[in-house]
Every structure is written in C-alpha cells, then in structure tokens.
C-alpha cells in the first residue's frame, strides 16, 4: 500500500499496486459519508487488497472534509466532491497507466460514481452498492438515527445539520435534498438482468454491477432511464457493511459479497 497526499495536498489516498500481471482496468473506490464511511473502511481495505492481488491497480481516497483529507465536512459539497473524484481519477491514471477504469462506490460514494460516469469515457465498469438515489430520504433517515441515539444521553435541542457525529454544510444539504432519480440520465449503460458473471459493457460504455441487500430492489427502472445495455444485479445475503453491527463479532466485512464483486470484475475484462 502507498498512502499519499494529492491534489496539492488537499486529498489523501492509498494506492494499491497490482500484483502479478496487471489487468487492463484500474479501480477507484469511492467512500460513503459520515458514519457509513467509518463502517466500510475495513471492508474497502479488504476489497482493495483482493483486487490488487488479482492484478487490478486500486486507489481509495478520502473526500475533502473526511478521513485524512483537508478541511471539515461542513466545508464540503456534492460539487466539491465531484471535483475530488476527478482529481482522484487523475491520480489513478498517473499511477496505473491503465486505459480503462472501474468506479466502485457504496451509498453516497456510489451516487458520485454514477454522476461521474456519464462524463468520463474512460469508465468501463461501475460497481454501485445501494447508491443514494433520494437525497431527502437519505437525510431523513440519518436525522432519525441521530435523534434516536442522542435521546439516550442528551436532553437539549439537536442541531439540524448534525448527523451522528458529522455536520453537513448548507451547500451539501441543499445538494442532497435536490438529489433524485432524474439526475442520473444519459449514461448509456447495458442491461441484461442476468446474474453475476454475464456479459460486460459494449463499445466503451460501462458495464454495471448493482449490489443490493435483501428487500432492496435493484434500480432496474434506473437502467431504463439510463438506456442501459448491460446491467447485472447481485443480491448480498450478508449484513450491509455500512450499518451498525451488534454482537461479539464486529468484523463488518461481507466477505462473500466482496469476492463476488472481484469475480465479476475479473470475468468482465475484455
């Protein structure tokens, strides 16, 4: 692993060089936000390690205002994070020398990956793990969780922009509230509706692996909005790694699902 600062020192990332023969596709891992970021960190490391072992160059990075990157979350915005993703792609391009790229994102990381994919012809694959498609609902759920947890130890009024230890700035909140399914058009990705292991993208358009838990419907309708051509859904039967786990074993890594993701990417290389 090679930890480093980039984008004039604003952003922190960890590059995982490939082992053995290098694949044609490099992978950019996009974290979710807030507590979800904290909980998936171990799983992302596990995934990056597996991918690198299979020959994929990997970069995972912290958005501005998160992790070891500069700034505070309240200074960030969705627009700023879209810029961060472009910077991270630049860092990955310069380190990997690959021509094709996979964006992999969980939750809000998946959302940003989706928004970026339509602007970057080099994105050959997308792995989207329950991306946030309704920003208002996302904030409502976060707010409810925050109030429920804070009730155990706080009697005072809660700040409306604070969510379980993290504060979103006004720009970010506005951007999230405006986030709806109408934002995700024009990617031109393929859709087959098959299980894991079926065909990849066509003619440079990204192939999509949509990962979801039981009870969460894959966004097939989004596939229609996107005029998708290759869309594969993978249902995970393991607890979502961004959710709080209880019990003695708190490893928070859905090992089988991660292996399936790696396998899909391996099998969908041209």
């Amino acid at each position: 692993m090679e930890p480093f600062f980039f984008d004039r020192g604003r952003l922190f990332g960890v590059y995982h060089p490939p082992e053995g023969k290098t694949q044609a596709t490099a992978v950019l891992l996009c974290y979710p936000a807030g507590q979800e970021y904290m909980r998936v960190h171990r799983g992302y490391l596990n995934l990056a390690t597996q991918l690198a072992r299979e020959g994929f160059p990997v970069l995972r990075f912290d958005w501005f205002g998160t992790g070891d990157s500069a700034g505070e979350l309240e200074e960030a915005s969705l627009q700023r994070w879209r810029s961060d993703l472009r910077a991270a792609m630049g860092a990955l391009r310069s380190r990997s020398a690959c021509a094709h790229f996979c964006l992999l994102g969980c939750r809000l990381g998946g959302t940003l990956a989706l928004l970026h994919a339509g602007q970057d012809a080099g994105i050959s694959h997308l792995v989207l793990w329950e991306p946030v498609l309704d920003g208002a609902a996302y904030l409502d759920a976060l707010g409810a969780l925050h109030r429920e947890q804070a009730a155990a130890y706080s009697a005072g009024p809660l700040a409306p922009d604070e969510f379980v230890g993290f504060r979103f700035g006004a720009d970010f909140l506005d951007g999230l509230r405006a986030l709806g399914r109408d934002r995700f058009g024009g990617l031109g990705v393929g859709m087959t509706g098959e299980g894991v292991g079926s065909s990849g993208g066509q003619g440079g358009r990204p192939a999509v692996l949509w990962v979801h838990g039981a009870g969460v419907e894959p966004a097939y309708d989004l596939g229609k909005v996107l005029k998708a051509e290759a869309f594969v859904a993978l249902q995970s039967d393991e607890p979502a790694m961004w959710l709080k786990q209880s019990g003695v074993d708190k490893s928070l890594v859905p090992a089988r699902t991660l292996r399936s993701v790696v396998q899909w990417l391996k099998e969908n290389q041209e």
Partner: protein, 315 residues
C-alpha cells in the same frame, strides 16, 4: 506534505519494522504558542477497531488542533487496524500495541527531536496508552477518555438494576446472552477470564484470555498490567510525575460512570491525587458523538496540555 489551515502541515509516515505501520504527522509550520521548542509530542491511538482518524474523525480534529498550538502530533494505525497490516510475529496483541506506541514516539523523536511525549487514547486506546505510559519513561502525560471502569459495589448494583440490560436479555439479544454465559462461566471457572481492568475495594481479578487479532477487539492487557488494580497502575505513573487526565461522559449510564462511583464510593479510591484530573463531559456518549461534546472535550484537553507545558519536566 500537505498544508492545512492555521499554518500546520501534514505528512505520511511509515514506521516500524520495514515501515509496516501507517501514520500521519501533524505539525506546526511555524512555532506556535507551545514555543519554538515544544515540550513534548503527542501520540493518538486507535479507538477500538476504528482507524486512525478516530470516532467521528475526533483524532484528526485533535491532531490538527494541537499542531496548530505548536505540538507535533502523530496519529497512527496499530498493526491489523486501519492501513497497517497485521503483525507478523504472532505475539500478544497487547504487548505489540504497547511496543507500537513506543515506535510512534521514536518516529516523532527522530522527525522532530523530541524526548517527551503525551499519549491520548479513547476507550481501548486509553488502556493501550496506560500500558505504554507504564512501559516508557518518556511519557510525561496520559489522557484516557472513557477508558477505565472502576467496578465498585454501587457500580455493580446499578448494572444489576439496569432496565435496559434486562430488557435486552428478555428479548433474547444474542450479544447479551453471550455475555451472561461468559460471566457465568467465569463464576464457575470454566472459561476464559474477563479482561476488564478492575479496581475498587476488592482486589483486581484480571487474567489474560486468548489474543485475537483482526476483526475482534478482544481486550488483553500487557503483562505489566494484568492482575493489578487500575488505581495502582495510575499511582505508578503519578509517582514518577507523569500527569494523568481521565475524561468521561457525564450521563446516567451505569458503565464508565465515574461520577456514580465517586459519589458512592469516595472515588476512584484515588481521591484525585496531585497530578491527576478527572473531567466529566456533558451531553457526551461513549465516543463523544455530539459535536458540542467534542468541543468541550477538546477544551478540557487544551487546558490540560497548557498545564503540562508549564511544568518543569526533567529530561
């Protein structure tokens, strides 16, 4: 190297055997209020299984705050946590963590020419900090946040009468049932002993259990701590003029409720001797989730650091 606001810089540091441990230095670009030659460097440890940024990114805030005041700081990942790979030697986790704190201090010493250090730890990090402070005379201050339970009689009654706990048990919560089963086994001596640090009127009853690495945060004490009451361990530090700050939430929880113990049992059985401060943070939970509680904690730590900086430490 990365520039930050308030004239601080951050850089990646890979240290330890073959550079296996990953850390971030935060340090002043220009001399701050800690003077051109800071008295000490600061080490921030992992809290539980969380990586080096700390719960709700608290370690990052602490590192940048104190670097802005002139102190060089390192936050790092112990082996097997965050971006540091698992240890290779197969040795005891607790001993390894204490030695890794020593390596972090060595890294600060080499980079910034420091000879004294202050350790900050939250939850399990507090216990690692205590072990490392006992292990290394260069530590002149140790702040443990939500780190030590003192199981006095009043504490035990409060836990026994906890409605929340009985509710979980009656609902068949797996985690609670497992803990009950473990407690019963310990009573009849058929299972691994508890590894909680115990203190108070009765002697400590700590024995080591099997080490586990990776996904489990099993608490195992270094050999220097096992079997000894926490008050004795803290007294060892105080006797060598190592300053101690213990910070807790000020809520009504039966666990980690220092005030409850103080009111009922004349506290800590230490009576707040010279060199030790105890702070209770309002509106705080175990990981200081509310940002107002983080701000209050940072102020408490800042005042304590200023006090440490005024002391004539011997080198």
């Amino acid at each position: 190297m990365a520039k930050r606001k308030s004239g601080i810089k951050e850089s990646v540091v890979l240290f330890g055997d073959s550079g296996r441990l990953t850390g971030i230095f935060s340090h002043p670009k220009l001399p701050g209020s800690a003077s051109a030659s800071p008295s000490f460097g600061i080490v921030l440890m992992n809290a539980g299984l969380l990586h080096r940024i700390g719960p709700h990114r608290l370690n990052v805030r602490l590192a940048r705050h104190f670097a802005g005041l002139g102190y060089p700081v390192i936050r790092f990942d112990h082996s097997g946590l965050g971006d540091s790979p698992a240890g290779l030697d197969g040795g005891a986790v607790a001993e390894r963590r204490v030695s890794e704190v020593r390596l972090a201090m060595d890294a600060l010493a080499e980079q910034f020419g420091l000879g004294q250090f202050v350790l900050l730890g939250i939850c399990s990090g507090a216990r690692v900090a205590l072990g490392a402070a006992l292990d290394d005379q260069r530590v002149v201050g140790m702040a443990g946040m939500e780190g030590f339970e003192l199981r006095t009689g009043r504490y035990r009654w409060a836990r026994l009468l906890s409605g929340e706990k009985w509710g979980r048990l009656l609902r068949g919560d797996v985690h609670t049932l497992r803990k009950l089963r473990g407690a019963l086994k310990r009573q009849v001596g058929t299972g691994a002993a508890s590894v909680k640090v115990s203190g108070g009127p009765e002697p400590a009853s700590v024995a080591s259990s099997k080490d586990q690495d990776g996904g489990r945060d099993r608490e195992v004490l270094p050999a220097s701590m096992a079997g000894r009451p926490v008050r004795a361990l803290l007294n060892t530090l105080l006797n060598r003029q190592c300053q101690v700050l213990l910070a807790y939430r000020a809520g009504n929880e039966t666990r980690f409720n220092f005030r409850l113990q103080r009111e009922g049992d004349r506290i800590l059985a230490l009576g707040q001797p010279k060199g030790m401060q105890v702070a209770f943070i309002p509106e705080a939970d175990h990981t200081f989730t509310l940002l107002s509680s983080q701000a209050r904690l940072i102020q408490v730590l800042t005042d304590w650091m200023a006090h440490l900086s005024s002391l004539p430490f011997s080198t």
